[in-house]
């Protein structure tokens, strides 16, 4: 029987994995993917809560919006990454350290 707890557990795992990806991976695209993971974790939470706890549609709508925004964000992010690649010919995150004290 699948309960709310399992959903929450899955989403928590997703969240942590996303964070770790963002911390550890050097590939910018991978880091963008990490963001997606985190967003999905949040979306999953919303849906699960609206299914099990609050019997209203707010959660679902929220999830939809999240997906939508995530798409836009990913698009913009990738565009910038491409620009960065055009200039630097790399997408290694540690190349992006020109701006500092």
């Amino acid at each position: 029987m699948i309960t709310l707890t399992s959903y929450l557990f899955i989403s928590l795992v997703l969240f942590l994995v996303g964070v770790m990806v963002m911390l550890a991976r050097k590939n910018i695209v991978a880091i963008l993917l990490g963001i997606e993971l985190i967003l999905n974790a949040a979306a999953l939470n919303f849906v699960a809560y609206s299914r099990f706890v609050t019997n209203n549609l707010d959660g679902h709508i929220f999830a939809l919006f999240i997906i939508l925004v995530a798409a836009a964000e990913a698009a913009v992010g990738l565009a910038i990454v491409i620009r960065f690649f055009q200039i630097k010919e790399t997408i290694h995150i540690d190349e992006a350290t020109q701006l500092r004290n």
Binding site: I28, I35, I66, V69, G77, I80, F84, Q98
Partner: protein
């Protein structure tokens, strides 16, 4: 149903207008002819500025209206949000005009700047009057996503692109964290409407507080990142430095004001009533505000790049404004709004002068200010005045703003915070005066005039400086206006 929407729309004119304006600008951009770039860009600018002025008018018209919640409580229109919107529109106007003359943005991209600034403005407006978590999230994202693009508007410039990437990634992370927190809040309280959440909150008790507190922290992460307060400030210096100067000035006004607005609203709604978790929250705000001021000012001391210096100083100013949030009452809001208005004028003037200078020299180190007093005495005096005002020296309005903030925290008897703020203003005076010193006492390497300072530009800069000076002496009217701009909770 329909007339419900229409009624709501009647309150929602400024936002609708700006959306309309954005669409027009997009079409104009699409239809602009390759052979006559210049003219078409002028068209776009003209259209944009006129539109912004109209929006401004609509906001002012809205200001006196009775506060209402529209679109099924999703959005709330009250004098507070409207005043914030006015500030944001003014800021947008200022940076748009600056972008026109600035060499920092590649000519082909100027119209993009125009369009996207309006987009960011829409996001800010949405944020300023958000009444539930969804609108808040949408506002932040609208604000952010377009900001990423604006940051990397410099073509073929590594730093700009890098700044864009950092901004995007950092924004993404914080947005994600915020959403995660929101989701748990939704789970605990069962609604996304602020007003209902408050009632639930007061009814709630037991161990779910822990979860709720954590969730609120995550929630705050998103806002804190927008206003770039400690510890979420670290993206801003890099982004400010990487972005073109008009964008920087734009960022240091519009998103910050929106973020501050939403922070005030959320804090007032959730914790103004003195609910169970309010105490912890206020303690947290104490620490954050103090740290933000201190980190911003202390780090600013070492900066050679003026853009970066202004970025850090803006962090310091956000810290000061947060003092007004800490007290969680209407006078605090009043003080913050006054501060916002004054800060907008000061920042614009400072960025205008910096931009024209760095256009001439191609860099924005403090040395470009050397001997300004001999080349352009008026500009030098304005800049020095603005710097003094930023530091909070009478008779400039910056002092009055600081005075109000001080008075609200001292009214609450937060003397510790007051002392920290006092020390901070001394530190800030120190680095502002090192810049002022360069302006006045530094010997110019060359006698050639700064091309940017045409008569018109100087006039505009001076016009921006006038309120900085006048509001320092006759500030009651503005205080009353910002006092009138109360927060409406529904």
């Amino acid at each position: 149903m329909l007339e419900q929407l229409l009624i709501s729309a009647s309150f929602y004119i400024p936002e609708l207008l700006s959306i309309l304006l954005m669409c027009f600008l997009l079409m104009a951009e699409a239809s602009h002819s390759m052979e006559n770039e210049h003219g078409s860009r002028d068209k776009i600018y003209g259209l944009g500025i006129i539109g912004l002025l109209v929006i401004l008018g609509a906001c002012i018209f809205n200001f006196t209206k009775a506060p209402t919640a529209v679109f099924y409580n999703a959005v709330i229109i009250d004098p507070f949000s409207t005043l914030v919107k006015i500030i944001m529109v003014l800021g947008t106007l200022g940076s748009v005009y600056l972008s026109r003359s600035s060499k920092d943005i590649y000519t082909n991209l100027k119209s993009e700047f125009m369009i996207m600034s309006v987009g960011v403005l829409i996001g800010g407006m949405l944020l300023a009057s958000a009444n539930n978590m969804l609108t808040l999230y949408l506002g932040i994202e609208t604000l952010s996503i377009l900001s990423y693009v604006m940051t990397s508007l410099k073509r073929d410039d590594a730093t700009s692109a890098e700044a864009g990437i950092k901004y995007a990634l950092y924004g993404g992370l914080t947005a994600g964290v915020m959403l995660f927190g929101m989701s748990h809040i939704y789970g605990q309280l069962g609604t996304i409407q602020f007003a209902e959440m408050v009632t639930k909150l007061s009814a709630l008790e037991g161990q779910s507080f822990v979860v709720l507190m954590i969730s609120f922290l995550m929630f705050f992460t998103g806002i804190g990142y927008k206003i770039s307060c400690f510890p979420f400030h670290m993206w801003s210096p890099d982004v400010y430095q990487g972005a073109p100067i008009p964008v920087t000035s734009f960022f240091s006004i519009v998103p910050k004001m929106a973020g501050i607005a939403v922070l005030i609203r959320v804090s007032m709604i959730f914790f103004g009533t003195g609910s169970a978790i309010a105490v912890t929250w206020i303690g947290l705000l104490h620490v954050i505000a103090a740290m933000t001021m201190t980190v911003g000012n202390v780090t600013a001391i070492g900066q050679s790049s003026v853009k970066r210096l202004l970025a850090f100083s803006s962090i310091g100013h956000v810290g000061v404004m947060m003092l007004g949030v800490v007290v969680l009452n209407e006078v605090g809001v009043q003080a913050i709004l006054f501060y916002g208005i004054v800060y907008m004028f000061m920042t614009l003037a400072a960025f205008y002068i910096t931009s024209h200078l760095s256009d001439m020299y191609g860099t924005d180190t403090q040395d470009v200010f050397k001997g300004l007093i001999y080349k352009h005495p008026l500009m030098a005096i304005v800049m020095v005045g603005v710097l003094f005002s930023l530091a909070g020296v009478p008779p400039f309005s910056g002092f009055v703003a600081k005075f109000n903030i001080f008075s609200v925290i001292i009214e609450k008897k937060y003397y510790g915070l007051a002392i920290i703020a006092a020390l901070n203003s001394v530190i800030s005076l120190y680095y502002y005066m090192r810049l002022a010193k360069t302006i006045i006492f530094g010997e110019a390497d060359s006698e050639e005039k700064v091309p940017g300072f045409t008569g018109l530009n100087q006039t505009i800069i001076f016009v921006m400086f006038v309120p900085v000076l006048v509001l320092g002496v006759f500030w009651e009217s503005i205080m009353n206006i910002s006092g009138y701009a109360k927060i409406f909770i529904r």
